[in-house]
């Protein structure tokens, strides 16, 4: 057991963990941030996607020992049920969730894209979102939601 100091959604947390524990387990079991989901555990589905230093990563593949001081972002950092963030609002508006299991991962992957490229083309969105799977088949709505969020962010930028 080693003590790790993780910065998650802007807050510092100290957790005792084995070095090889996946970040996903630490987020869910130690920090009770249950947004990121366990899907396959093999980096094949994307349900566990979070951001690490702004890049989308599958947290089931990230041993807690490699995180270091890099900031971690989870869906809980995007907004709350009372005050959903731009991406969350867009996913609600497009009714992009069927069972919802993949959606936190989808939003975090999209978040990494929009933070770097606020007005992506459709091809860029498709390419970026490609690793994340939805077994219900709401991909078209998910793509629309990402587009909608990009549009909303563009408007915010124009007003600022």
């Amino acid at each position: 057991m080693t003590t790790y100091h993780l910065r998650v959604n802007g807050r510092e947390h100290a957790v005792d963990s084995d070095p090889d524990t996946p970040l996903l387990y630490v987020l869910r079991n130690d920090l009770h941030l249950n947004g990121a989901k366990f899907g396959c555990g093999l980096g094949q589905c994307g349900a566990c996607t979070v951001t690490l230093d702004g890049e989308s990563v599958m947290s089931c593949l990230v041993p807690v020992s490699v995180v270091g001081s890099r900031p971690v972002g989870t869906v809980e950092g995007l907004g709350t049920a009372q005050a959903p963030g731009v991406l969350q609002q867009a996913f609600i508006a497009e009714q992009a969730a069927q069972c919802g299991y993949c959606i936190a991962g989808m939003m975090m992957r999209a978040q990494a894209l929009l933070a770097k490229n606020p007005s992506p083309t459709d091809a860029e969105i498709r390419k970026h979102m490609m690793p994340n799977l939805c077994r219900c088949g709401t991909h078209m709505r998910i793509l629309r939601a990402v587009r909608r969020a990009a549009g909303a962010l563009g408007k915010q930028g124009a007003q600022a």
């Binding site: 980096g43 593949l61 990230v62 270091g68 091809a123």
Partner: protein
């Protein structure tokens, strides 16, 4: 003799001769560099459907889409950046759009571009476009490809400006490269070989231009045909040798190779990564008999590779570093990364599942002469083409630090391949991060 005492007349004559020489040189250079524009055509001729379909198959073997298609929804519209040692070249629009594509190109203009690397308007194309290979194409195949491209949807996509290093932005210089490296000889079959082999020879060299990457290039970027299939590089990746110098730890069979070329996967043997992914993405649309012929030809060289002694106890789970390892700290760091991030898929092999992972003792990247391809696969993963089922390996570039990536490469080299350690692993990790 004192120069100042030379008669004025003699000095004037020398000057005149020098001036004449300079004019002659300029004229000669101009004659070498200048190519006429060919007349635009008002409308494309009509094409026989069978010819169009044949052109589709030739274009698939030629892997034209690998460079000329960026967005699958806009085929052949160009715009892909290709990094070369001389700068970044962007592929152009080869749809029949009259303004931004090849809509005004006659078959003669299209042929000249493929055989000589000259655009319709007379400007010289950069040899990132492999006309030094296409120059050997049969005219029938050129005609068929022309029919295929001229019947594609016309897309408006102006060429992206290239970003060349000085002085390569001056295109006429390519004329001198052409003197050195453009051998305008028709393709000739090897009479000592059979029809299938010769078909594969033609397809591999003139059409699929395998040698553009699998054969090394000279300092000036010319394909060094004297070192046929000795291994080269593409976009920062090491491209394996396909002859006696093949680094593959497992011997290839011709059928295994054909399957790999058609699907990107030879089960239990290899998965296409990096620039080769775009090649197999094209080849799967080709006539399977053509792919078989390529496999026959390439395998005739691969079969010359010496049989390797399979490392003891392999394949199987990768071992922990030995206690007496002289580089123990780095090996342990690499093993920790392997065990925590890689082993769940790669130790098992998982050969029968959709996410099959290769046991790494069999992975050719560990046996390459340098770590470039391994580092890039780790950082970028392997992604299927848009909308297609294929192997998927997640990218670890955003997960692992430089030190962890380098330690992993060093560990895999020693304990996976059992080969002498690579040099400059850390430098290669840094280079791989540059966009």
């Amino acid at each position: 003799m004192d120069r100042s005492r030379r008669p004025r007349q003699s000095r004037r004559r020398t000057r005149r001769i020098l001036l004449a020489l300079a004019v002659l040189l300029a004229l000669a250079a101009w004659a070498i560099m200048w190519r006429p524009a060919l007349d635009p055509q008002a409308a494309a001729p009509r094409f026989d459907q069978a010819l169009v379909e044949r052109g589709q198959r030739v274009a698939a073997v030629g892997t034209c889409a690998a460079c000329h298609t960026v967005d699958p929804g806009r085929p052949y519209a160009g715009g892909r950046a290709l990094a070369t040692p001389f700068g970044t070249v962007y592929s152009t629009n080869i749809t029949p759009d009259a303004r931004t594509g090849i809509g005004q190109w006659s078959e003669a203009a299209f042929t000249r571009a493929l055989r000589e690397g000259v655009s319709r308007d007379g400007h010289l194309l950069y040899p990132a476009f492999p006309y030094d290979h296409y120059t050997r194409l049969a005219q029938d195949d050129i005609r068929a490809m022309y029919a295929w491209f001229m019947t594609r949807p016309a897309l408006d996509a102006p060429a992206h400006d290239n970003d060349m290093r000085f002085p390569f932005g001056f295109r006429p210089l390519v004329a001198f490269w052409n003197i050195l490296y453009l051998k305008r000889e028709p393709w000739r079959p090897d009479p000592a070989q059979g029809a299938e082999w010769n078909r594969g020879y033609y397809l591999s060299v003139a059409v699929a231009h395998c040698t553009a990457c699998h054969t090394p290039r000279t300092k000036l970027g010319g394909t060094d045909f004297s070192r046929h299939l000795d291994g080269g590089e593409a976009e920062g990746w090491y491209v394996p040798a396909l002859n006696a110098k093949s680094p593959s730890p497992l011997p290839w069979t011709r059928d295994h190779l054909a399957e790999y070329l058609r699907t990107g996967i030879a089960p239990g043997h290899a998965a296409a990564g990096g620039p080769m992914q775009a090649s197999v993405e094209n080849l799967r649309l080709a006539d399977p008999r053509d792919v078989d012929a390529i496999a026959t030809y390439i395998h005739s060289y691969l079969a010359r590779a010496p049989a390797r002694q399979a490392p003891a106890g392999r394949p199987g789970p990768m071992p922990a570093p030995a206690a007496g390892d002289p580089d123990l700290a780095r090996m342990q760091a690499g093993y920790a990364v392997y065990a925590n991030s890689c082993a769940r898929c790669h130790d098992l092999g998982r050969a029968e599942t959709s996410g099959a992972a290769l046991q790494l003792q069999k992975a050719v990247a560990l046996y390459d002469p340098d770590p470039r391809s391994l580092i890039r696969i780790v950082r970028q993963g392997i992604a299927p083409p848009d909308g297609e089922p294929a192997r998927w390996m997640p990218a670890f570039g955003a997960i692992l630090s430089d030190e962890q990536t380098a330690a992993l490469a060093a560990y895999l080299r020693r304990y996976g391949a059992g080969q002498p350690q690579w040099e400059h692993i850390e430098d290669e990790v840094k280079k791989a991060k540059q966009p």
